[in-house]
Subunit: 400 residues, 4 copies
């Protein structure tokens, strides 16, 4: 009796079509050296220039066919007046610019906050950078402004919560107004780090309120690592979807805090359940939800491109498993309060090995069955390392 329709025996053509529409955006910063406050560990093949990053992203897209866009970090990736050149570099590699990420946290001026700074001059400077990012995004051909703010305080008393909140409201409204009609603003939340007493946009609720006030094209950005211990992320995802406020994801995994580990490396069932919620909402909506799927990880000790390929393949596997859930059977069992039966709908889909089917799907699309293996065999990393090491040696850059 448990076998009937549970799970669907294999991915249907419709499932594979949906999977083919799942595009995963790559962050340029995921190809560069990263670390913790205790230091960066350097890799010979790590990207140095924006061109390197685009090369690497193109390699990932070439092997997966699923990553046509890259997320840019304004400060790190787009030199003054170079937006057109950046866009053209991307296009040359078969890529487009996805989300544009302003940076109002790195400059020494933002030590005590950006948009929520006590100083009107610094607030204005931060807002100007955001407005400039809107313009840049347009020039870059991007429709997505992804906003993460490090604003917050480290000590009780340091900041006025409500005054800072109102500063955020004003700033986001101003930026929203400046956005062209086609642009979406994504508001990210994060409980802590680098601020340790409070972050101004600490949780999904604050991001939701701020996005609502900013305007109709502001949505919430869910970074899977930005939650408190025990928070049920898939519930938040479903809740936001029902409010039409789910704008996108920064995917990664974690064991403790914002560890920025490879997606699905620690708790793959969690990512699976997030996809189950999204597909359930899409089933009710009758169409794909307009969600940006982005990777945001810190590959401190993994080879950058390998980590990216592993991530894309894992996301596809978990998405495919979620597609296997028979939502109709699931609903029936829910209505009967058959707790075990409903749970088995999910467990059974999750237990199904979809790797063979995905290999075939890739082959049929002219892609290597295992992008990770193809990459390892292809020698790309060794090849670029030679040149990058030479260039790094030539530069006088030192590292903290």
């Amino acid at each position: 009796m448990y076998d009937e329709g549970m799970p669907k025996p294999s991915l249907t053509d419709e499932d594979l079509a949906r999977l083919s529409r799942l595009q995963i955006e790559l962050p340029t910063w995921g190809f560069a050296d990263t670390g913790t406050r205790f230091g960066k560990f350097l890799q010979d093949a790590a990207a140095v220039t924006l061109e390197d990053k685009l090369d690497d992203a193109a390699e990932v897209h070439r092997l997966t066919g699923a990553c046509p866009s890259v997320a840019l970090h304004v400060l790190w990736d787009v030199p003054d007046g170079e937006a057109a050149a950046v866009r053209s570099e991307a296009t040359k590699r078969g890529l487009r610019i996805g989300s544009v990420n302003p940076n109002v946290f790195q400059d020494q001026r933002y030590r005590f906050g950006s948009v929520a700074n006590a100083s009107p001059a610094i607030r204005a400077r931060a807002v100007n950078h955001l407005l400039e990012s809107v313009r840049l995004a347009s020039e870059l051909g991007s429709n997505t402004l992804a906003l993460w703010f490090a604003d917050g305080t480290n000590y009780p008393g340091q900041g006025n919560v409500r005054r800072r909140k109102r500063a955020f409201e004003a700033a986001l409204r101003e930026v929203h107004e400046a956005m062209p009609p086609s642009m979406t603003m994504l508001v990210e939340y994060k409980p802590f780090e680098p601020a340790f007493y409070f972050t101004d946009i600490a949780d999904w609720g604050m991001a939701y309120v701020h996005a609502r006030k900013a305007g109709p094209r502001a949505k919430v950005l869910v970074d899977t690592g930005h939650h408190y211990p025990g928070q049920n992320i898939e519930q938040i995802v479903a809740f936001l979807a029902d409010e039409s406020m789910l704008g996108g994801f920064h995917f990664n995994d974690r064991h403790y805090a914002d560890d920025d580990l490879t997606t699905g490396s620690i708790d793959p069932a969690r990512i699976f359940r997030i996809f189950v919620e999204i597909l359930s909402a899409e089933r009710d909506a009758g169409s794909d939800l307009p969600i940006e799927y982005m990777i945001d990880q810190s590959h401190n000790i993994k080879p950058k491109i390998e980590a990216m390929l592993q991530t894309v393949m894992t996301i596809q596997e978990l998405f495919a498993k979620a597609l296997l859930v028979d939502q109709e059977v699931l609903d029936d069992r829910r209505l009967m309060n058959d707790v075990v039966g409903a749970e088995e709908c999910l467990k059974s889909a999750f237990a199904t090995d979809v790797r063979g089917e995905l290999a075939g799907w890739r082959r049929s699309r002219g892609l290597p069955e295992s992008p990770l293996e193809a990459h390892r065999l292809g020698g790309y990393e060794a090849r670029v390392a030679v040149d990058r090491v030479r260039r790094k040696a030539a530069s006088s850059a030192s590292y903290a």
Copy 2:
């Protein structure tokens, strides 16, 4: 230089007037035997009947002068058709009925949820109980409907998050419509327990969205024990206050989860900072915020009345310390980004010993300087225990 105006050397008359307006509601269930899932520990003096509970609440109010109202649990405290009698019993003791708490979690029918149950019949039953509670509240002279829902699921797949959310929206709107104009609906949130996969109203964000949709008289109820590890409660409080959505508190303390320990027993600085945020908002508003301050604790091993008195005294102390914060000096230091100086404004007020001043303030109001000591000396507990033990022995009630 650090001494100037920091903190205010002592409580002003205005401060004491504000402190005198701080009314703390007592929950009837805090006087009865409580426990954990591993069993209840019984106390001779624990209240058995509603009359006992009202007697105990009256004793606390007699000694503190700060607790004129009691929160009722509809199912446990108000027998059918007895609202007028209950109200009269309270009045006789110099008390009034504060918040009215429906109960849609105890009945076996609610095993799979109340308002979010998959069954329309059970949903209707739950909503009817809520509507009946509105009527009862009116009869009891109460203006506050306090809603806590145990609804949630234990397993992935078990429930449809979005369908359940919509059921909540419909139910709360219906109840809000039935409320008289003078009544406030408080929507409580809680991450888990008794549901262990998700609770339908899990955090302040969900309570906020539901309250907004229910209607203008619905606000959020903050239980200090209903947060994830690391969540900054005072920030949430300030955020809600700024949204005019902070309706009330259930005070208690915790080390781990919803431990329901005595307020301020584990982290007194936290409660102090919550009061600092409220007083800051009141300063800007120019008036007291309309917030219900309620105790919600589980005195498993402490004598019930002692625990209540200790709680009221602790809340008053921490509120008085918060009154000592010189918000003007604090603001100046914030504007200068004097992090240490701003923090010292809070630390200094917190370090001040206000017990002597509070003793004098109580004396001036005809109250014992130490309500706890007066209670211990007064012999109330021993006295009521005799009768209560006798009555318990006479009843055939057994306990799990």
Copy 3:
């Protein structure tokens, strides 16, 4: 290159033999009604008497062939002088008594602790119960004394940590001395609940120190739900195994605290990784480790036997996946610091669908391919419910 040896293409005969030796102990209390402090939800088919519980355990063993022993709770399951009868009842059903669990937490006398109570008389009473449990265990044919203590405090100041610790040392030593040479003492740890300030044996370190001091046959019992948010359980398991101090498991799953959900329902990868560590230690040891695998769950809303069957099947699946890890390839990759490659060894095994192989393995042992489906089809639950409901109605028992 990633395909070589990773994972082993299927379970070897040796793997299946290891799987066949995996015996999972059932707790009698898992068949009875359970709940939270907010109430118990009652099930018609829930076991009432010890005979019911043994019947249910026998049903699970009949269908799985993997659960020949049951864990008893001395206070609930073994009436005075009835040990021989209990043992015989088990034997009649093809079962044996596994771990014996004393109960020094339920009696009102233990309100302020058992073995760590400030009162010498109550301490002695508790120790006597433990010694009596040792005797009972012998009579019951059990070789395992499983000790969980609810001892702890709710408030700062309440207890003297060091004095309580020494009381535990003395008690455990005394009990250890009284154990026959064949008996193992398992010391369980738990951070909180029902104590909310501290539990005397709060973490694995405290259990380790106490077990070391008690004597050579005392080991640590790991309950998978008894950890802090973020703790890496598989690391603790490996650490204890290396110290020859890993005595056994209480399996369950959790999202927040000690939720006692079905094993693998929330984070199946976690359980898988625990098994990978155990199998790695067994590979080095050249033999199975002497570990007691026990279930300890609270099936509040799931049918009891279904939940048990689902748990056994899930444990077997995750154990089988762990068997698929090619530890040799894994070690090679570790030595090369091939982080991605080493991780893929685990991911690949985890992704493999072993349900078909397990169905075949069960069939070859004369068992139903799906014990859960066989149970649902068999009608056992409906059958026993009739009689149990009748008996419950006849008794005057009330429920909190």
Copy 4:
């Protein structure tokens, strides 16, 4: 009745003598610029050279009289062959070298671990650095080797838990053997960061086992920020004290993870309770416990010296409050299970304002009543900033 002896009305001469013996070690790295992985915020007055750091430490000691020793970081502070010079620089400023901290985490070679690295050569290199640090410590006149290891892994499968554990055992034993009889080894634990799947010495239990195996002069180092959410630190402290395994503290505070905030800024009651446990153990021992009290904070946005002074003053205040606890009355109440009364012993001491008494105590020792105020008025920071800014500008160092 609650007034009798509770708390002691004021600090006795004996209390003040104990307070005077409380020496708090300053970390050189606490005077330099620090940050998060998102960047460092630079301060004009931040120390650049070891001489700067010693100057700053001397300023703190001059104002507090409580900080005669400084902790050194071998790699950052002691150039090859310069130990004698470093020692002499300290002596010139009235300071001595306290704990010596090896660094086996920063070099690129330690990317995959130091002492637990899979490579024998890198393990040997790490052990050599530790042995060299022992020699250096002797030359520096230090008796304390403080060991923190960043070793750990980021991904499941990456490392062999048990093999790494054994590598640690071997290394610590070798280092312990090389230590002169007067030297103490402190083994620190930390759950995560920079490793995100597991840290090899993740909790106090692992540090305890490793210290026990290393030898009799190895003890556990408790960093107050290195715990899981909800862990009861004061219980661990008392437990370790009872095992004679409590070697020292790294003081700081936190809201979320290892935030390295100023001690007592977030949860002052926690630090107070830690001191209560230590003083209780000292009372039983009849003497001070041999514990190293060290500060380990990251003053990202606070002026470095101000933060240090604030920390020392806060520690002294909380220690003084702990001295006020009447341990005799406390014990009586514990024996009577007077939970409220016992708790009030702590609450009452904590509520007492000791700042006036501490001001007098400082004055009597020839120190400023408020070291923080004296420092602000003294102009030290502005003075050193001039020179330091000039030197920084002259150097070509860049910062990440």
